[in-house]
């Protein structure tokens, strides 16, 4: 489903991704762990073409992200085509980026109505179902500024799910959630995986990784240090760096 090959990305002189190779199979949940600043968010952003890579290649569902290949040439895609690709990819940002001037309900229905051309009534019904699922049924009419941190995060998750994307990118989707809600989000993710949605989840919660992941990827300083099934990576890490990192879990 997702293939990341030799991806490099620098900000100024600082190389944040230093040759990332990663493969994510359809319907699998890949959890990315790693210390702060190791490039996890940046990697997710390149998959959604919010950052252009400096070199390397990313394909989603066999299609290059942001480019079209023909012979030995790569043609840059027009914005419209990139946007079409993006409706297939849901993104939950680390700091949510909710639309502050729209109500919770409008935040969620905006994309289905305008990007997928769903009838509004249908989108609203779907949004209410989603809100129910994340425990925010009664906040449909509230503005994001009036929500608690955890409530905002759940709206962000609902917003991404509303597009029913084939691929979901979660950047720390449970950072503001209490243990009960983490459990609920975990259920949602497992549900989605069962329905065939592919997911990449960046998280700091090892417990979450253990429960949710088919594959765990450990990144450090812009490279993938180790990857494999959670039982292997989390319990019998081969790399010294991974071991050091995991030993700090409280």
């Amino acid at each position: 489903m997702v293939e990341i090959r030799s991806v490099r990305k620098s900000f100024g002189s600082h190389e944040v991704l230093r040759g990332i190779d990663l493969e994510v199979r359809t319907g699998e949940v890949t959890v990315v762990l790693g210390p702060s600043g190791s490039g996890k968010s940046t990697l997710l952003r390149t998959v959604n073409h919010l950052e252009k890579v400096d070199s390397g290649r990313i394909t989603v569902d066999g299609k290059l992200v942001g480019y079209r290949r023909s012979g030995d040439k790569l043609y840059e895609l027009r914005e419209r085509e990139v946007l079409r690709q993006r409706t297939q990819i849901g993104f939950v940002f680390q700091n949510f980026h909710l639309f502050p001037h729209l109500t919770v309900l409008e935040n969620i229905t905006e994309a289905p109505v305008s990007a997928l051309k769903r009838p509004r009534a249908e989108a609203v019904a779907a949004a209410h179902t989603l809100l129910e699922r994340v425990g925010l049924a009664e906040k449909a009419g509230a503005y994001p500024g009036h929500l608690s941190g955890g409530q905002q995060q759940r709206v962000a998750i609902a917003r991404a799910l509303a597009l029913e994307p084939k691929l979901l990118l979660f950047d720390e989707p449970t950072s503001a959630l209490d243990p009960e809600l983490v459990g609920e989000v975990l259920d949602v993710i497992k549900d989605l995986a069962r329905q065939g949605t592919t997911m990449i989840v960046v998280t700091h919660e090892i417990g979450f990784a253990r429960e949710a992941a088919d594959t765990v990827v450990f990144m450090d300083e812009g490279v993938v240090v180790e990857q494999g099934p959670p039982a292997e990576v989390l319990d019998r890490p081969r790399q010294e760096r991974t071991r050091a990192f995991l030993s700090k879990v409280l």
């Binding site: 919010l50 079409r84 940002f93 639309f99 001037h101 305008s114 009664e138 503005y143 500024g145």
Partner: protein, 304 residues
């Protein structure tokens, strides 16, 4: 998790008075009274302001130099009302068209397309550089400058030529000239607003697959409006009064129509008062309108 379940444990026996800030302590019988910060200075200042205002109003109303009789006489004469009508009509059109064009220019200026970017830059530069008087005179005198406009191969032969005299009447010239000018300024106001919106908002909208225009119309502009409305209000009121420049090309707006009278009768002060009162009236209405527009765009913050 419903936030206010019907029967939740309430560990404190305090009475229910959530609205008024009544402070209580469990052990004490009566809660202490809250005294707001003493604002003696504030009240004194308010009194002084009101007194000064009363004096100013009094001196205006009773001052003979203002000749209120003459003011009343001319306040609703047909010529003045016609001028007012023209001013309002022109302001509304110029503002609406100017802001539509200005928004397009602002978006072009901020786009990645270098051609759009420089055309927009050039437009803004040119129309901000040239005094509006000169622009109006240019359009009205286009007959002298370009006796004929030709359609044909650039620097080559022409197929079709049009005599330009009388191509544009004074009203059309006023409308075109002011609109083109306004658009350059509106573009900068809109751009200022767009710059104030966090980039994360655009990224979020992109990641949801929203198209360029939808993003602008639905996500970025509404948030930019908080910063746009106050200077746009300035521009609206500025345009209201600025339209009087069209008198140079024989279009009679409000100010010009009172000027015509006092040039004839030399009663300068009362006639300027007529115009001022009308301007103040319209401005008041517009200011009230601005207030409601601001409230609309600030609605997500209001009860916070």
């Amino acid at each position: 998790m419903p936030p206010t379940p019907p029967a939740a444990p309430a560990p404190s026996p305090t009475g229910e008075a959530p609205a008024a800030p009544v402070l209580t302590k469990e052990a004490e019988p009566a809660p202490p009274r809250v005294v707001p910060v003493r604002r003696t200075g504030q009240w004194a200042a308010a009194a002084v302001v009101l007194l000064l205002l009363a004096m100013a109003v009094n001196s205006v109303v009773r001052n003979e130099a203002f000749q209120w009789g003459v003011v009343a006489e001319y306040f609703t004469t047909p010529a003045v009302l016609r001028g007012l009508g023209l001013t309002l009509w022109l302001t509304a059109l110029v503002m609406a068209l100017g802001f539509v064009l200005g928004t397009l220019l602002a978006v072009a200026r901020m786009s990645a397309n270098p051609v759009l970017k420089s055309v927009s830059w050039g437009y803004i530069w040119f129309f901000r550089s040239t005094p509006v008087l000169v622009q109006l005179l240019f359009w009205i005198n286009i007959g002298a400058l370009y006796p004929q406009l030709g359609l044909g191969i650039p620097f080559g032969p022409e197929f079709l030529t049009v005599k330009t005299v009388n191509l544009l009447g004074p009203l059309t010239v006023a409308l075109i000239g002011l609109t083109l000018h306004e658009a350059a300024y509106a573009a900068e106001v809109v751009r200022g607003g767009l710059l104030s919106v966090d980039r994360g908002q655009t990224e979020a909208a992109q990641s949801l697959g929203l198209g360029r225009w939808r993003r602008l119309r639905r996500i970025v502009l509404p948030q930019a409006m908080r910063a746009i409305v106050p200077p746009a209000g300035n521009m609206l009121i500025g345009t209201l009064k600025g339209t009087s420049i069209v008198s140079v090309i024989a279009v009679q707006d409000l100010l010009h129509s009172v000027q015509l009278v006092y040039h004839r009768t030399y009663q300068v002060i009362p006639l300027l008062l007529v115009a001022t009162l009308w301007y103040a009236l319209v401005t008041t209405v517009l200011t009230a309108g601005q207030h409601y527009v601001e409230r609309y765009y600030g609605r997500s913050e209001r009860d916070r």
